[in-house]
Every structure is written in C-alpha cells, then in structure tokens.
Amino acid sequence: MDRKYEAVGSERAVSALSELYSRYGYARFKMSKFEEYDLYARNKNFLRGDSIITFTGSGNRLMALRPDVTLSIVKNARSGAPSEKVYYTENVYRESKDKDEISEIMQVGLECIGEIDLYQTGEVILLAVQSLAALGENYILDISHMGFLSALLDEIGAEGDVRDALIGCIREKNAHGIAAIAKDAGIKGEAASRLTTAATIYGPFADAIGRLRAISVGAAEAAALDELEAIHTVLDAAGCADRVNLDFSTVNDMSYYNGIILSGFIEGIPNAVLAGGRYDNLLHKMGKTGGAVGFAVYLDLLERYNTAERGFDADILLLYDESTDAAELTKAVKMLSESGKTVRVQRSIPEGFRCHQLLTMKEGGLHILETND
C-alpha cells in the first residue's frame, strides 16, 4: 500500500497546500460564511447551475450560505492596486440540482488579482501542478484556452442556440455531435472539422500546439496559441511541463472566463479535483479593472480516495490495565509517537480496530502481542 495516500487526510492536505501557497507569498484570506444573496444572483452563471442556500438575515435581508469563494474575494479586491495574492481554506455550501442534497465542500484555493502577465500566469499554473503533486502520486493538469475557442466559434459564425449546442458537444469530445449540428446549421464541413479537431485534441503541449496551429486561421487564435507557447516555456523552465496537457474540451462560461482554463486530475479520483482559470471578465463585470487568475482544489473528493486506500486505523494499538503505571505509560507513548508512529492507547481492543502492531505494557516494558502487515 502506498503510504503517501494513507497519510494525506484532508487536514494534512489543507496544511500542505497552505504552506505551499504561503511559500510563494500568498496571504491567507479569511471570510464570513454568509454573503448577501444578491452577489450570487447577479453572477449565477459563474456558479454553474448549483442552487444556492438562502435564509433571511437581520433587517429582512436575503442572505446566502457562501456557494463560492472567488466572488467574495473579487468583491473585496482593490481596483488598480498591484497584484493581490491571496489563498483561502473555506467550506462552501451547495445544493446539487439532481441530488436534492445540501453539501458542504472543503475548498482550498488561490487568486492572483491585478496586473497579470506571463510570470504571474506561469506561477499560478506551477502552483496548480505542485498542489496536485502534494495530493497524489499520478496527476495531470489540463490547460484549455477560452480565447482560442471563442475565436474559433466566432469565425464559423456560431451564435445563440447553435453555439451553446456546439459547446455542449465540445465538452463531450463529441465529434459526431459537432458534425450533425454543423450540418443542420449550414456550417461548412471544413469549419466544423476545425472545431472537431480542437475538441478532440489531447496530449502534451509540443505535439498539440502543432496540430492547433494547423487549424487556426484568425489573429485571435494565433494570439491564444502564442500565449500557450510562452506559458509552456515558463513551465519547462520550472521543470513541470511534462505533467501538463492541452485539452480544449474544458469550456467555462465565456462571459466570466477569457484566457487559460485549468483542470487538475489525480489517478483514482473520477472527477476533476482542481479547477480554475483566467477570469478578467468577472472582474470587469464587478466594476474592477485589471486581470485575475486562480484555482480551487476540491478536498471532498480527496477524502473518498483516502478512505479507500486506508487499511489501518493506527500503526500501534497499545493495551494496558489497572496495574499499569500511568507515568510509565505516558513516557512510552511519547517515545512511540516521536518515532513517527501513530499510537492509540486503550484498555481493550475497540471493535473492528486494525493496527500494524498490537502492544501491551507490562512491568514497565513494552511487549509485542501481534504484528500485521
């Protein structure tokens, strides 16, 4: 069994990530669990469909249990200031649309708001890669670019329902769906096939960029690819380019996101554990200037992954009885725990308890009763 998975519980994940972000100078941002509902009502699409849990606050104001952290941070960001760098560790509350259940989701994330240049973007991506590395053995970070996709869709003249339907198919890497919609909408076969290529491309930067260059005709597409190439150079210098793939099937709401989109995956967890991107448009909607880029890590998914891997409740179960000297016992436990072992001390074995070693304390000394591997 891989000990790394066993050890990284969600609290440890929080502290590992907080430490990582602090090392890069990000400041902890602490906030209230509630916000006025209005903030979310105005930015509903940013929250992607989950319903919001509301209640009536003082003065009959309609309040909401915070479904998202980014909006609160952006609301409080100072306009025109040099880059603000913050990270957070917060619970968010969502009511999922098909489960009729309220869920509390632990999120750790960071936001960089202000002057966003190549260095800042690269730093955020690098931190996303390092976040994944801190959580799992085998991981991948996918990058998409909204600028590229929206230019491509503009160019083939896809608007309204057709555009939405095409985006739905891009998200599914659904080539036959794109072809069918394009045919119905009278979009040329050659234009549709460019869209199909963009949706289905997956793989390392160098390889994918070449294929994307071949289908890009406009200046906006070329600019997006130039940006991706520049980012690749930065990631290469940081030594993490091999963990990053291009995947243009990740499409976020274009009225909020405008540049790169990030999604992170850990082998063994069936959904993305990390999501984020460049969201200047959200900032502008809220009347601020400048740019913003950030991501969030969803720790609730990680929890399940760890439970599945966990085989033991503690390294050592230490049994004692009424004849054991409490001071001696305390000393022994301290010694064991300082040697890096997890120790549980009980008078009898708890039901279903599993440990590597079962010890007992007799006549001032430790005796092994049982060893399991």
């Binding site: 085998n138 890497k173 659904n174 036959h176 997956y202 069936p270 959904n271």
Partner: protein
C-alpha cells in the same frame, strides 16, 4: 502489467451485439461467452474487464469511474446528462424519441398538455423550448396505456418499429431526436489511459464505419 480497461455493457440484445464488435476489434473475453451467473469477466490477454449492468445505469458507472468506458443509449445520456465524453456513435440500437398520441389527436392550445413519460428531462426540455405549458406524469413502464385510459394527452417515449403504437391505435405526431448507442468514457480515465482508450475507440470506429458502408 498494463492497466485493465473496465467496460460497462448494457444487459440485453444491444449489449451482446456491441460486445461482438468489441470482440472483432480485438478486445474479446472468452469467459464472457461461457455464461453462468458471474458478473465480471476479465481477459488478461486483451487487458479488458467487462461487466453487464442495467442499460440505464451504464452512464452512472462511467461517470463515477467504476467503469472507464461504456455503451449507453443517447436517450439515457439526454435524460441524465452525465458528465462524460461521448466518443462514438456506434450506429446500432437505432430508434427515435418521439411524441405519440391517440390517432386523430388534435393539440388544444387552450389547455395544459398532459405528457406521460419515463423521460422527464427530455420531455421537459422539448416542451420548454416551445414554451408550452405541460403537466408531466412520470411513469415507469407501459407508457402507451396513459393516453388510452385518458391519463395523459400524449406520451414521450422511444419508438423503434412503431408496432406497439399501431396495435393500440396510437401514432407518432412528432420526432424529438434520433437515438442510437454511444461509446462513452469517464473524463479522468480518458486522460490517464489515453493511449489504450483512443486505440480501442479508433478500432471500434473503423468497424462501425465499415458496417455503415456495407448496409448502404
């Protein structure tokens, strides 16, 4: 050892015919032909593990990563909108999602239209787009009974040959969408097993295209 690809197939005729295509593509699993009560079939040689599940559950197995890929009808994908990749239209299990009513039915715009269906989401989306006021009656089977007994005005259901409708004096009044079986993949499995899944998908695509050519 190479990692196994977990494949969820829908129980029944469609699943069996799809399995034949997988076998032809080089992903056979001899144990599966032996029958019996086993639920999971593995072939170390071809690195695949198959399991049969209820057709409407395939998408859930794939979305939650219990299966890496699976075969599901477009009806199920439209109804449950799972977050998965839809890699191929397999061109089998063809039918259509349609609105049917008693022969001679006339739509009266002044009344709320009562719609009986198993596919609540599909029906709701279809009528929402037309801004029609409807009352959805969710049934789990024998949908055709509803208009005959006056429980509903119309039904939204899968129509394959139309024989059941004809025998009960019902007919299709509108087609909502054509349906066929699709190859779907878990989004994360697709990334971590990219080479294996694309190779499989390409081989199946080639066989599907070949069959489409032959039946032309």
């Amino acid at each position: 050892m190479k990692p196994m690809i977990n494949i969820a197939l829908p129980k029944g005729r469609l699943g069996e015919s799809v399995y034949e295509t997988f076998e032809k593509a080089g992903y056979g699993c001899p144990a599966l032909r032996e029958g019996g009560r086993r639920l999971i079939f593995e072939s170390e040689e071809t690195c695949v593990r198959y399991f049969w599940v209820k057709p409407s559950d395939v998408a859930i197995y794939v979305e939650r990563g219990a299966a890496d890929i699976g075969v599901a009808g477009k009806d199920i994908l439209l109804e449950y909108t799972p977050d998965v990749y839809e890699l191929l239209d397999l061109g089998v299990g063809k039918c259509r999602m349609a609105v049917a009513a008693k022969n001679g039915f006339r739509y009266d715009g002044a009344k709320t239209l009562r719609v009986a269906t198993k596919f609540v989401n599909i029906a709701r989306t279809f009528y929402n787009e037309q801004s029609r006021d409807i009352d959805i009656i969710k049934l789990n089977g024998s949908i055709e009974l509803a208009p005959i007994l006056g429980l509903s005005d119309v039904i939204v259901d899968i129509v394959e040959t139309g024989t059941t409708l004809k025998e009960n004096d019902l007919s299709v009044i509108e087609t909502i969408v054509p349906i066929s079986a699709r190859l779907i993949a878990n989004k994360v499995s697709y990334k971590f097993q990219y080479d294996a899944i694309t190779k499989l998908s390409e081989k199946i695509a080639a066989l599907t295209a070949q069959r489409a050519q032959e039946t032309k």
